[in-house]
């Protein structure tokens, strides 16, 4: 009898030991997302919400390998112009509509042809598609495109309910209906976004929360204060300078992952009149600037060493990093020599525009101090982001401190910036050799072949340096101790599959 009682008590205790009560996970975001429509959306934080709201055709592992999600398999034909995708059976959208090849076709059409779709360039290689049967769709490309599968691992591959999208049109974002683990409940702008568990999710057993609330809190100090005070369960983008205090806090845990993107100084080498400057016309000046910077010290001073120094579009731990060109140590003498070579032994003036937020201005002030010692006199102009972007696009700048959030496929970090006429090539850099290499690298599906071509392109870019790369951001999450199972991903997303919270 006693044993029974003890067993019973033990069982009760085990059952009530934490998991799966009516649980709400509160996540602190750095910004308020823009419109919640994967085809129209453009913010990083929007994608964090989608990770819980909208499943995609494929997903990635922390090692950036592509794995099945709503699609269970995919096959290329011999010359890489046809992609046949097998879709998961038995999946429904939040409104009960079935997920099938017709739905995928609808979504492809929307991403490609919807007037306000921001995904057009991502699926530009897609020419047509054919619904073979409920679970098979054949996509035809104009030319081989190695980047397409990776695009389906992001917003271009997020599946919206055709019925809801058709009805709502461009207002889809006010009430999004997708096929992810949570459904949309409500949104109060700049205050919160609330999602509720989707009972019919095909992996519902991996989801341990009844609801998720996203709270945008722009001030990093206040966001951390909220976490400490217990008003948040986790937050994204912990300030690097807060890392020591979180590490010494017993009630909090920290997770990190190097991002896919970079921060650097883009130099105007061919965009209008303002390219006629010493730094714009002579690559030696640009290389001198790069040598004058002590990237390790920059990282230490501004980010407590938490971020990753960089000199290429890919972080040093990325498989696409060209190991023949490691991140250089500072070399003021070599910098001065280069400047003297170029005819600027007495120094050279450079105007850099920078976004007027504390972190970027701090970075540039450090760079400014370092460059001065090599004879490069940097003057800073802080601009609001909208103005910065405008001026950069129009060529109204000499150098601009700007970054890129990064893409899973290596093409995404380099092609549009470095090819002649590239969509975001604000420096207007143009080199036919680089063009050939990068265009060819897109066509092949062979990783070794692509690596060769990117390496060759990067070697040329080290000489020309139209962008002086500075560092790679590291995503840092701070979590309450009782949040378990969180896995950090380099794309910065918060995937809640397998995450749980003890009371």
């Amino acid at each position: 009898m006693q044993t029974l009682k003890t067993l019973g008590l033990a069982a009760l205790l085990a059952a009530s030991s934490g998991l799966v009560h009516a649980q709400d996970l509160r996540i602190g975001l750095q910004e308020d997302p823009d419109v919640l429509d994967p085809d129209q959306s453009r913010t990083f934080v929007g994608r964090i919400v989608y990770a819980s709201l909208c499943d995609k055709l494929v997903d990635i592992t922390p090692q950036l390998e592509i794995i099945p999600m709503l699609a269970t398999g995919w096959e290329w034909n011999a010359d890489g112009t046809e992609l046949t995708m097998t879709l998961r059976d038995g999946v429904v959208f939040h409104d009960g509509e079935p997920f099938n090849a017709e739905a995928v076709a609808y979504n492809l059409n929307r991403s490609k042809n919807f007037e306000l779709s921001r995904r057009k360039s991502e699926v530009s290689s897609v020419e047509s598609w054919e619904v073979v049967d409920d679970t098979t769709i054949k996509i035809s490309l104009a030319a081989p495109d190695a980047t397409l599968i990776a695009q389906f691992a992001d917003r271009a591959g997020m599946m919206l309910s055709p019925k809801a999208a058709e009805e709502a049109g461009e207002e889809f974002g006010l009430n999004p209906v997708c096929a992810g683990p949570f459904t949309f409940k409500e949104r109060i702008q700049q205050d919160r976004i609330v999602l509720e568990k989707f009972a019919d999710y095909y992996r519902a057993d991996e989801i341990n929360f009844d609801s998720v609330t996203f709270l945008p809190i722009p001030d990093t100090t206040v966001r951390l204060a909220n976490l400490r005070a217990g008003d948040l369960d986790m937050l994204e983008r912990l300030a690097a300078t807060d890392v020591p205090s979180v590490m010494s806090d017993d009630g909090l845990t920290m997770e990190k992952a190097t991002s896919l993107g970079y921060q650097g100084i883009t130099v105007n080498v061919g965009n209008g009149d303002r390219a006629n400057t010493p730094i714009g016309t002579d690559s030696r000046v640009r290389r001198a600037l790069s040598l004058a910077i002590d990237r390790a010290a920059l990282n230490q001073v501004v980010f407590e060493g938490a971020f990753a120094a960089g000199n290429q579009p890919y972080p040093p731990d990325s498989p696409w990093f060209n190991t023949a060109f490691p991140v250089p140590e500072r070399d003021v003498e070599a910098a001065k020599a280069l400047l003297a070579d170029a005819g600027f032994a007495d120094g050279v003036d450079v105007e850099v525009q920078v976004a007027n937020n504390p972190v970027q201005t701090q970075v540039m002030q450090v760079v400014q101090a370092m460059a001065a010692q090599a004879g490069i006199n940097i003057s800073l102009t802080a601009k609001e982001f909208a103005t910065l972007l405008s001026d950069q696009s129009a060529g109204d700048y000499m150098a601009s401190q700007i970054g890129w959030s990064g893409r899973v496929d290596p093409d995404g970090n380099i092609h549009q910036f470095m090819t002649t006429g590239g969509g975001i090539n604000d420096s207007k850099y143009s080199n036919p050799e680089v063009d050939t290499l990068l265009n060819e690298a897109r066509l092949s599906n062979d990783t070794a072949d692509r690596k060769e071509k990117y390496d060759a392109a990067l070697a040329i870019l080290q000489e020309d340096s139209p962008i002086v790369y500075l560092y790679h951001q590291v995503w840092i999450w701070a979590l309450d101790n009782n949040v378990l199972g969180f896995v950090p991903y380099p794309d910065g997303m918060i995937r809640l599959h397998g995450v749980s919270m003890t009371e």
Binding site: D34, R118, D219, A386, S393, S405
Partner: protein, 314 residues
């Protein structure tokens, strides 16, 4: 009275139009293209063109203004460039938040300011007067964003008494709602308390010297009765009118407070809208605050005339 109000409203109309034109022009002269920001990192030219067409950015500015004005007269203030939400809805959602903040701040200011003003007027020249004045001036002199940050550090992080940020609608959970707004209301209120105190003091001082107070004293009434029933009541007249005007101040002062405490109110909406070049939102807000301010002015004047019929037309 009705004629007076009617006349004032009539005069106010050209002012409102002036404000809206002024802000509209200013916004469109701002450097930086919202379309570029909206188009996303990839900046697809096709998307940019589509967006420009949709939001009529290719039309000349006067045409754009007339389109906006026409729609506004029918109650349509456009949509937020950032999230597609209708501006009127946005404002409608945020206004109660800022009003709650402003009302709480005003209450705190009244609770501190008026008694302090009465006391220092009554005890003019003594150390109480001196102290109250210094405290009031200090309240005016502290940058409120600094005070806010310091309070968060002390009260939320170190002591854990109050939440550091966020918002809870009054209708949902009154207790939590008040808790969450307490610090920001305090920060906002202390700045206004100082002004209120000085006005109260000044009004009390002139009233205390007046004939009817001397008469009341001569009649032998107890000091407290004189103070409250006669002096204060009359002193409150100019103070009340000041309060109606201070309300406008509060709305503007809420900007930084909301930024720091992350309160999804009016002030934060405006700052974000200006930085994001969200034209329609800024335009809508300025229109509303302009109308609100003018309404307050008219209200203040009317109140003054009602409370003090001896005031002649100016």
């Amino acid at each position: 009275m009705l004629a007076f109000i009617g006349r004032r409203i009539l005069i106010a109309i050209p002012t409102v139009i002036l404000i809206s034109i002024f802000v509209f022009t200013l916004q469109h002269l701002l450097p930086g293209d919202p379309i570029l920001v909206m188009a996303g990192e990839e900046r697809d030219p096709a998307v940019i063109e589509a967006l420009r067409e949709k939001y009529r950015m290719n039309d000349p500015i006067p045409v754009q203004y007339l389109a906006w004005a026409g729609a506004a007269l029918q109650g349509d203030l456009g949509i937020s460039l950032r999230t597609q939400q209708p501006v009127l809805e946005l404002i409608g959602g945020k206004l109660p938040v800022t009003i709650q903040l402003a009302v709480m701040a005003l209450i705190i200011a009244i609770l501190i300011g008026i008694p302090a003003g009465v006391l220092s007027a009554y005890r003019k020249g003594t150390w109480i007067d001196w102290l109250a004045n210094i405290v009031a001036l200090s309240g005016l002199s502290v940058p409120n964003f600094w005070l806010g940050i310091m309070l968060i550090l002390l009260v939320s992080v170190k002591l854990g008494w109050l939440p550091a940020s966020g918002y809870m609608p009054l209708s949902e959970d009154p207790m939590q709602s008040i808790k969450v707004m307490l610090m920001p209301a305090f920060v906002l209120g202390t700045g206004i308390a100082a002004t209120l105190m000085r006005h109260t003091r000044s009004a009390m001082l002139s009233v205390l010297k007046s004939d009817y107070v001397r008469t009341a004293r001569a009649k032998g009434l107890r000091e407290r009765v004189v103070l409250v029933k006669h002096a204060l009541r009359n002193a409150l007249v100019p103070v009340v009118t000041v309060i109606t005007l201070l309300f406008g101040e509060l709305l503007a002062g809420a900007v930084l407070t909301e930024q720091i405490f992350t309160i999804p109110g009016f002030g934060k909406l405006v700052v974000d809208a200006v930085f994001n070049r969200d034209y329609a939102v800024v335009q809508g807000i300025v229109l509303c605050t302009g109308i609100g301010f003018i309404a307050m002015n008219i209200l203040a004047d009317a109140a003054y005339r009602v409370l003090n019929p001896r005031m002649s037309d100016q």
